[in-house]
């Protein structure tokens, strides 16, 4: 990988953010809503990418972090009547705490065992959400009422159900996380993470405490995913156990693989691409899962580096 000049990298990403901002004014209603949703889910994918792409830890249980944020925010609004910022923070806190506990346990294993353990913890989490259906709404889920999704800042009131406000909130979250992950992976700490991925034993021998570095990565990744979940609950007003299912652990993996693991923009590209592919194909077939399955197999067979990964390899070596 050639050394990236910081100015070039940051201007590319600020350009993407500016483009998304500009799109808000020209997109037709349907796509406007879709892009807002994609940006929130791209945050989920970015959180996943931090762990999978940079540290090389393949988790099959990230749905639990997303769902922790989703339920943490959704339930505190629904049952406790908390305000939007408090609920958002509550969601993030739930995800961070869960990630810390899961990280301490799951990082005792590695490789295949790590994947299975994370999948099992996520399964337990999802079953718990079904078991406590009295509070979580179980399969049916809960709809957070419009009245509860109003943000009061100083004197101004922002209604999160308004499409423009929703789009801009999603964009704000997306931009913060994009720039933050970019800063993290370009920092000294980010380089240690890549070193762990490339050769953990050697990194350990060079004097780095790989366990606490990996644990920190799990917590940061889980927190980002929880932020995405919390935003989803507050912006789209639905909290349901389907978001905790195995499928939602597989989807971020698919998005990241498609977009390109260990690239900053890959998660967005992957989520965008996959969402539009399913959106277009759902017009003439209901076999949505078939497409996901075929995409996964073709990706691992022919494009293990994903879209942005291939672009970086062929043309733009400086791409972060």
């Amino acid at each position: 990988m050639t050394e990236a000049s910081p100015a070039k990298a940051y201007s590319l990403h600020l350009g993407v953010i500016a483009l998304l901002f500009a799109l808000s004014f020209v997109l037709p209603d349907y796509h406007h809503g879709l892009i807002a949703r994609i940006m929130v889910l791209a945050v989920f994918a970015m959180g996943y990418n931090l762990l999978f792409g940079y540290v090389g830890l393949l988790s099959l249980g990230h749905a639990m972090f997303f769902a922790a944020g989703l339920y943490g925010a959704g339930l505190s609004v629904y049952h406790l009547g908390w305000s939007v910022p408090a609920a958002f923070l509550a969601g993030i806190a739930c995800g961070a705490l869960l990630a810390l506990v899961i990280g301490v346990l799951a990082l005792r294993t590695s490789g295949v065992a790590f994947m299975i353990v994370t999948m099992m913890f996520a399964q337990v989490f999802s079953l718990l959400m079904l078991y406590f259906a009295v509070w979580t709404g179980g399969d049916q889920g809960l709809v957070v009422q419009q009245a509860a999704r109003v943000l009061t800042l100083g004197g101004t009131t922002l209604d999160l159900t308004n499409p423009t406000v929703r789009y801009m909130s999603a964009l704000a979250l997306f931009s913060i996380v994009l720039l933050a992950t970019l800063a993290v992976v370009r920092s000294r700490y980010g380089r240690v993470l890549v070193a762990v991925r490339e050769n953990e034993e050697r990194t350990k021998m060079l004097g780095y405490d790989t366990f606490s570095n990996k644990l920190a990565a799990v917590v940061v990744s889980g927190t980002i995913c929880a932020a995405s979940g919390a935003a989803y609950a507050l912006l789209f007003g639905y909290v349901g156990s389907s978001f905790a299912s195995v499928q939602y652990s597989i989807l971020p993996l698919l998005w990241v693989l498609l977009g390109g693991a260990a690239t900053a923009l890959g998660p967005l590209i992957g989520t965008l691409f996959m969402y539009y592919v399913t959106d277009i194909t759902s017009g003439f077939t209901s076999a949505y899962l078939l497409i996901v399955g075929v995409a996964l197999i073709l990706l691992v067979l022919f494009f293990p580096k994903g879209i942005m990964g291939s672009i970086r390899q062929r043309w733009l070596g400086w791409l972060p």
């Binding site: 299975i116 337990v124 197999i297």
Partner: protein
């Protein structure tokens, strides 16, 4: 019913679960043991077996036993062929890289599930048992078919064990499992062993499904639970240990039957999954396995 007979009934139900689970988990364990591939699509091969059993038994008229026997022979063969094709076309090209194969088998899971939904539909459909003899116990009558499932499964497990320990094919498989590179150097066709083992693993799942389908109906989502339970059994039993797999299957099946009878099935699943995750975290070689090399 009093507590005693109730417990007996729960234990019998648990034993049937154990029998089917042991076969399914054995398939998963063989594939992991020999090929080091975590086959996430294993549950879908199970489902495919059940769906094919329904298709075959409805296609063949006459006595239900006729259709059942046909299903017991043909369904595993079809499933084995599907698995072989998948192995040749996808897994072999990935060089059995552990992470890539997990992603690929997740893809297979979705493809098989969606195809089953498209062509078979979302309904759960029953298959008639080959015979309906009820064994009368002093407290309740119990289905003779269910007990014959236990017997059939035990027979198949013994047969697999004999193949693994007493035949040339079994020797080739064990040699590949122990050290595939050395096996290759000694002229063992490792590549073909891999193909065969993957097909065999899928066939074991399909047989288990054909056996269980007269008791629980065929449904396109029925592969999820066997997959999770098989993982649990394989992990607790220790990977590649046939004896461990059997003991763990009986343990899990019985406790699942008994806990589900007295508590909520969801709670039973939560406890079992959590216990297994903890086993994997604190004792990765399983309860019966030896530490890996």
């Amino acid at each position: 019913m009093h507590f005693g007979p109730h417990l007996l009934l729960a234990a019998l139900e648990g034993l049937v679960t154990s029998a089917v689970l042991a076969l399914t988990a054995l398939g998963l364990s063989l594939v992991f043991g020999v090929m080091r591939v975590v086959n996430v699509a294993h549950g879908e091969f199970f489902m495919l077996g059940a769906v094919l059993a329904w298709a075959l038994s409805t296609a063949i008229s006459g006595h239900p036993a006729l259709g059942f026997v046909a299903a017991l022979v043909i369904a595993p063969l079809i499933v084995g062929a599907v698995a072989l094709v998948a192995e040749r076309m996808v897994l072999r090209r990935l060089n059995y890289n552990p992470e890539a194969t997990i992603v690929a088998t997740i893809g297979m899971l979705y493809i098989i599930q969606q195809l089953a939904l498209t062509f078979y539909g979302p309904e759960a459909r029953p298959v008639e048992p080959p015979f309906s003899y009820r064994i009368l116990l002093p407290w309740f009558g119990y289905s003779g078919y269910k007990l014959s499932v236990v017997a059939a499964s035990a027979l198949l497990l013994v047969a697999t064990w004999l193949v693994l320990t007493r035949t040339k094919v079994g020797l080739l498989m064990r040699a590949t499992q122990y050290d595939s590179e050395t096996a290759q150097a000694f002229g063992i066709p490792v590549d073909r062993v891999y193909g065969g083992v993957f097909a065999l693993g899928a066939m074991l799942a399909a047989i288990a499904a054909v056996l269980i389908v007269p008791i629980s109906q065929a449904h396109y989502l029925m592969g999820q639970d066997p997959l999770l339970l098989s993982f649990i059994v394989v992990i607790i039993g220790g990977l590649g240990s046939l004896r461990g797999t059997l003991v763990a299957a009986v343990l899990i099946g019985l406790s699942d039957g008994i806990i589900s009878m007295f508590f909520s099935p969801t709670l039973a699943k939560i406890i079992a999954t959590l216990v297994v995750a903890m086993v994997l975290v604190f004792r990765p070689q399983g309860l019966f396995g030896t530490a890996s090399r």
